[in-house]
Subunit: 332 residues, 2 copies
Amino acid sequence: MQDMITVAVDAMGGDHAPAEVVKGTIDAIADNRNIKIYLVGHNISINDELSKYTYNKEQIEVVDAKEIIDLHESPVMAIRRKKESSIVKGLKLVKEKKADAFVSAGSTGALLAGGTFVVGRIKGVERPALAPFIPHKKGVSLLIDCGANVDSKASYLVQFAKMGSIYYENVLGVKNPKVALVNIGEEESKGNSLVKEAYALLKQEDDIQFIGNIEARDISSGKADVLVCDAFVGNIILKYTEGFGLTLLSMLKDAFLQDTRSKLGALLLKPALKKFKKQLDYTEYGGAPLLGLEGLVVKTHGSSDAKAIKNTIIQCKTFAEQNINHKIKQKF
Amino acid sequence: MQDMITVAVDAMGGDHAPAEVVKGTIDAIADNRNIKIYLVGHNISINDELSKYTYNKEQIEVVDAKEIIDLHESPVMAIRRKKESSIVKGLKLVKEKKADAFVSAGSTGALLAGGTFVVGRIKGVERPALAPFIPHKKGVSLLIDCGANVDSKASYLVQFAKMGSIYYENVLGVKNPKVALVNIGEEESKGNSLVKEAYALLKQEDDIQFIGNIEARDISSGKADVLVCDAFVGNIILKYTEGFGLTLLSMLKDAFLQDTRSKLGALLLKPALKKFKKQLDYTEYGGAPLLGLEGLVVKTHGSSDAKAIKNTIIQCKTFAEQNINHKIKQKF
């Protein structure tokens, strides 16, 4: 029998909470008898949703949290003041080792601030990093950091490279993943002072397979497995991927509806287009972990539906089973 | 009769030089009797290409340049040492007012360095900026800066906003274009120290219509006409647009070839897809000007074909006719 893993889930986070969060949780446990969930949030709202389903009651426990951290609140202030929020309570379950992981579609800023204040950093880690997967032609790359470290130092970037490499290797089973520094040119001499300094440090690192700089035009070709950058650049790439992808799909749709001939063609292409859209769909890849914390905290997209929540919960299982945090600790 | 305008063209720059450059030049003058071209580069190679066409000899003059600046040379060193290069000679024609503009598909770094050293900055302009158009759902946005100012100051960003606004208004005829600062959140408090400082300065500017921060996910929706950022971020967005666009098209192609049904659908969709590809095609939008110089210097994509060269030459006409440099000078 496999070990049981326990995941705390923020029932109040994201655009479709609590309905989709609860549904995703139900779906996750349906296939996985060895997952226990703490649904953290408004007692009554959660139980209302739960009452719609038949499920194994032993696998879900509701943890009441009376407050919600709003997307527009100052993250640091919110974490300090709202001790009864679903985010603070969920993070505490991880801190107290009652849960192996906390999953939330709520405020990224609050999760990042709370991750550091409540759960705490792994000794030696200067800054935890948010590391989502982004799609490329042949699979996915890990983009690290997309978090809140907006004025990064070169030493942070080196740590991101090491943590990202361990995560990628263990989650995707790719031995010695290729790590590249996102830059405006391939040559070592290119870039701003931050990346130049980071380059010099990265090439001395024995723990990673550093393949040098990568230009943004090569990101989608899948040249690198782990893309290292400061959070400002990471955030731009992540959100641009999302926005540009959606825009292209909508432009494509307009083009396909322009006349009868195109409409007929689009009808025939429906299965092919569905497959194409699936490749671009972020919900397929689960959430983004905050690497470098003394426990697993995973941020899922604000517009996560049940499928995204389910995939993220299952992703926590891999993280725990692969003992990724232990492996990170050994390198710091 | 319209005024004659004179454009110096780097016949040696880009992946398809001199053949496509010469062809683009021929195409540009065929429709425009009031354009005079200096083709700058190897005398013999250029004349070889020219001999393939019938054209009005009065509109083209070859200016011999014995050296070529390679893409991998240090731009500053190359500009200093290679006085006989097509780039230095072309820029000199602008400096000496013998040409209204210089167009090159060669080394961006050398053009930027040469633009400042040879042509010189407009008084008051701290840094010239490279400003390409990128496609969005309903048209194009100007992305400024994508040049070489990798460690920008907030004051540069304000100048980019002003120059970009004037350029957009005059080239696209959009009165008071919407100017936004590329950032990782919409709120004023978001971002790294550079953008926070720039935000504070931009909102005090009366000369522009500053609409605040724009997140990368909204870039493709066309929320803003002018996107202001430092060159590192601009370069990432520009090259990612290109790479991601190409990757999506290739993924789409793979999906369309997967079975007979899809192949038939794709055949019917051919005209629609052609239109879609055209919207994404950078060559449609001409080249990117270096704003802030005492003359017009336009960089076109390294893989420019004849059509891109032609469109860029014609774009110089608009720039000169609208007297854009004079309008920039008035604001500095």
